[in-house]
């Protein structure tokens, strides 16, 4: 098992390298460069040229990539933002906790809903419960999340005044307890939207997966499905 994992990791490295080359090329072959961001009629072209040279953007693209790769391998340095000069790793790390809090909660809740739904649907296939779960799942899959987000803001914030529509928290500190309550308060609406947008997919996935594994394990029609499921 360990050898398998290690061999997969080794195979993964060239792939990772290819991905970096591809994304580097894709971003830089698009028209414009990071200094385009600052274009205004009042910024003189010579200033842009000077900053382009400061940033090393005047050098050939493969060399720019090689420098980046060298810094990554020898120093573990992901580079600096061309727009604000901050280390890229820092920019990623400061956003990570929020991504985990939001996506993790949404993922967990969606699975908590989807797995029982999928199992029950698979067990009582074709029954009334399965039918209503199927409808719920397809409604969830079909609603675009950006639209649902607007509806959530309209109802929960504007109409009922229950939940905030901006921010990851109220931004001011308090006791631990009020901090948690505050963060939860700000998480409810986006998590709700993400859960509704994803539980349908997962429940169908579980239902379909159980069906095929059940068929493999239980060829005889007399077999009790619920028994094999949790065996």
């Amino acid at each position: 098992m360990n050898r398998y994992i290690i061999s997969r990791m080794v195979q993964f490295l060239p792939l990772l390298l290819l991905i970096t080359i591809f994304s580097y090329a894709l971003i830089r072959l698009a028209p414009g460069d990071p200094t385009t961001f600052f274009i205004s009629p009042k910024v003189r072209p010579e200033e842009r040229q000077r900053i382009r040279e400061n940033l090393g953007l005047n050098r050939p693209l493969p060399i720019q990539y090689a420098i980046w790769l060298k810094n990554l391998i020898t120093r573990g340095n992901l580079g600096y933002s061309m727009i604000n000069g901050r280390p890229v790793s820092e920019t990623i790390l400061e956003r990570l906790p929020y991504t985990v809090a939001l996506m993790g909660t949404a993922y967990l809740l969606a699975l908590l809903i989807a797995i029982p739904m999928g199992i029950m649907g698979a067990v009582r296939r074709g029954g009334g419960l399965d039918f209503s779960f199927t409808i719920a799942a397809f409604v969830g899959i079909s609603i675009p999340s950006f639209w649902l987000g607007l509806v959530a803001i309209y109802l929960l914030t504007l109409k009922w005044g229950l939940l905030p529509s901006v921010g990851m928290g109220s931004g001011v500190s308090g006791s631990l307890f009020s901090q948690i309550a505050d963060a939860a308060h700000h998480l409810i609406a986006p998590v709700l939207v993400l859960v509704i947008a994803s539980f349908g997919f997962w429940s169908r996935y579980v239902r379909g997966g159980l069906r095929s594994s059940c068929l493999q394990k239980c060829p005889a029609p007399s077999c009790e499905p619920a028994g094999t499921l949790f065996a």
Partner: protein, 552 residues
């Protein structure tokens, strides 16, 4: 000494909870039995719903930012959100007051030499940085020299260049700064008024482009930086040692809300205390009466520019005909109801140099047709204008991101079709549009100029600024305006400049190199609990952050 002063109690700074929220939650939950942790979760969730007051706490003023600032180093960033936040944290050498006049900030007073090439600034004593370090003349010189340094990635170095040469700064003593210019330059002080002064003791010897200072700044302004959560919020706390008096608001919370509708909802539900509003929302908010509403003309105007090096637009009668053919009043009233006014000249009404006494071109299609036939254009059997077999047709470029420009372009197309001119429209990305704006690369385009109270109109209108490096992209050339502008930018006497710029506006309006479209207003809604606002004007309502107050 000074540094060992007792630190006042900032309720926000003394935050014991430095660990990330998630790990705190996990810790609490892991130390409880399963049943209790479930109960706690339920309690938290119910509390989250119960604490449904969406407004910020009583001593926190919540403002909206349109985007995450690029950096909080004032010598690197000059875009809106960075400047807004920096104006609370940093001071400048001189500043604008609400009337657009230049007054002292870190400089108490200043005097130019009789030839206008040497300026001496006398600095305020007793100002200190937010870390307690005293402010001195070295900081000012360091700021300007760093900004001018070729390896500094500053796009606005031109603010400190006069006649193509860097201004030379020095500090003969800790309370005096001198500046030596290549030539006398009237807008010099105005340029200094937009550059926040940074601390030498924290930035010296560092790569200023990549310094961690840029994300946790220290200034001399009325508010201290507390924290910046990328794309979410920036928190500032009052500076009790501010030299113009301690602020009355304890904290400023900048919420980053890029989406316009989301900002409106946040404003209407009290999550933010102030927000810019569009022409569309103004009447509704004015009616419901729950906000303090303010509006004013900014230093901005919109125009349609022609490439004057193109034979199509060479004839002044053609340009005047187009001005007569377009009903600009109707366009402004439709596109920007209540938020704009027809423009007739190159200096916006917010500026004291503005004059109404210029040639105007009222809507008059018959006069337009008369001028065009005088210029040799005749209608063909399809109703379009022709001269020597050549049809009168051109492409009008506009920025897709500016909704009013797009709408105006459609109006202009149909008005010009009425007099037989065929206009093709092409919307493009703003940065592409700016790069296309060179003589010979375009025919006509819609753009806006943002200026200031002491603006150097030379950069846009002088014939020496034609070409790739300059901003006179429509290739306007008139020896008379050249002379007026060159004199106005080098004389320090205001009355002389007033007369020169008045003549300049008259001459430009007569030449009609642009089809001037409109002067635009800004409108802002503010929660009734906010007091101590500056008088409404282009400098904004938060011009004096230390005077702001929150009514309980």
């Amino acid at each position: 000494m000074e540094l060992t002063k007792v630190k006042p109690d900032f309720s926000i700074e003394s935050d014991p909870m430095r660990r990330p929220l998630l790990s705190r939650v996990c810790r609490v939950l892991l130390h409880l039995r399963p049943r209790r942790s479930v109960a706690l979760l339920v309690l938290i969730l119910s509390l989250a719903f119960v604490s449904c007051d969406l407004r910020p706490p009583r001593d926190v003023l919540a403002l909206a930012l349109l985007a995450d600032p690029i950096t909080l180093n004032p010598i690197l960033a000059f875009e809106g959100p960075s400047q807004t936040v920096n104006s609370f944290i940093f001071s400048t050498l001189v500043r604008f007051n609400e009337k657009g006049e230049i007054v002292g900030d870190l400089a108490k007073s200043w005097d130019p030499s009789p030839d206008g090439k040497r300026w001496t600034f006398h600095l305020r004593e007793g100002a200190s940085w937010h870390d307690g370090h005293p402010f001195a003349a070295d900081d000012v010189v360091f700021t300007y020299e760093t900004m001018l340094h070729p390896t500094t990635n500053c796009y606005n170095r031109g603010l400190l260049q006069v006649a193509g040469k860097e201004v030379e700064f020095s500090s003969p003593d800790p309370h005096t700064v001198t500046a030596v210019l290549q030539a006398p330059f009237a807008p010099f002080l105005a340029n200094l008024a937009v550059i926040g002064i940074v601390p030498k003791h924290l930035l010296e010897g560092q790569d200023v482009n990549r310094s961690s200072f840029n994300a946790s700044p220290i200034g001399t302004g009325p508010f201290r930086f507390v924290r910046w959560r990328a794309s979410d919020h920036i928190l500032l706390s009052w500076n009790p040692d501010y030299y113009n008096g301690a602020p009355r608001v304890k904290s400023i919370l900048f919420r980053i809300v890029p989406e316009g509708e989301a900002r409106m909802i946040a404003l209407e539900t009290g999550q933010i205390d102030s927000g810019a509003i569009s022409a569309k929302d103004y009447p509704r908010l004015a009616q419901n009466g729950r906000f303090q509403l303010f509006s004013w003309f900014d230093y901005i105007y919109y125009f349609m520019a022609f490439d004057l090096s193109n034979p199509l637009f060479e004839d002044i009668r053609v340009r005047r005909a187009m001005a007569h053919a377009v009903d600009r009043k109707h366009i402004v009233e439709t596109v920007l109801p209540g938020m704009g006014r027809v423009a007739n000249g190159p200096i916006p009404p917010a500026s004291e140099y503005h004059t109404e006494d210029v040639e105007t071109y009222p809507y008059d299609p018959t006069e337009a047709s008369r001028l065009l036939s005088e210029a040799g254009w005749t209608r063909n059997r399809h109703g379009y204008l022709e001269r020597g077999g050549e049809p009168f047709s051109f492409t009008l470029l506009f920025s897709q991101s500016a909704a009013p420009c797009e709408k105006a372009a459609v109006f202009i197309q149909s008005y010009l079709r009425n007099i037989g001119i065929r206009v093709k429209l092409r919307g493009m990305d703003f940065s592409v549009l700016v790069k296309t704006a060179n003589p010979g690369d375009f025919q006509a385009l819609i753009l806006d100029w943002i200026e200031g109270p002491e603006f150097d109109y030379y950069t846009e209108w002088d014939s020496s600024q034609i070409g790739k490096e300059g901003m006179n992209f429509m290739a306007y050339r008139n020896p008379r305006t050249d002379a007026l502008l060159r004199k106005a930018r080098t004389t320090l006497r205001k009355d002389v400049r007033l007369a020169l710029y008045r003549d300049f506006q008259r001459q430009v309006a007569t030449d009609a190199p642009y089809l001037f479209l409109w002067y635009q207003k800004s409108a802002v809604a503010v929660s009734p609990r906010v007091r101590g606002l500056a008088p409404p004007g282009p400098w904004g309502l938060f011009l004096y952050p230390e005077r702001l107050e929150l009514r309980p």
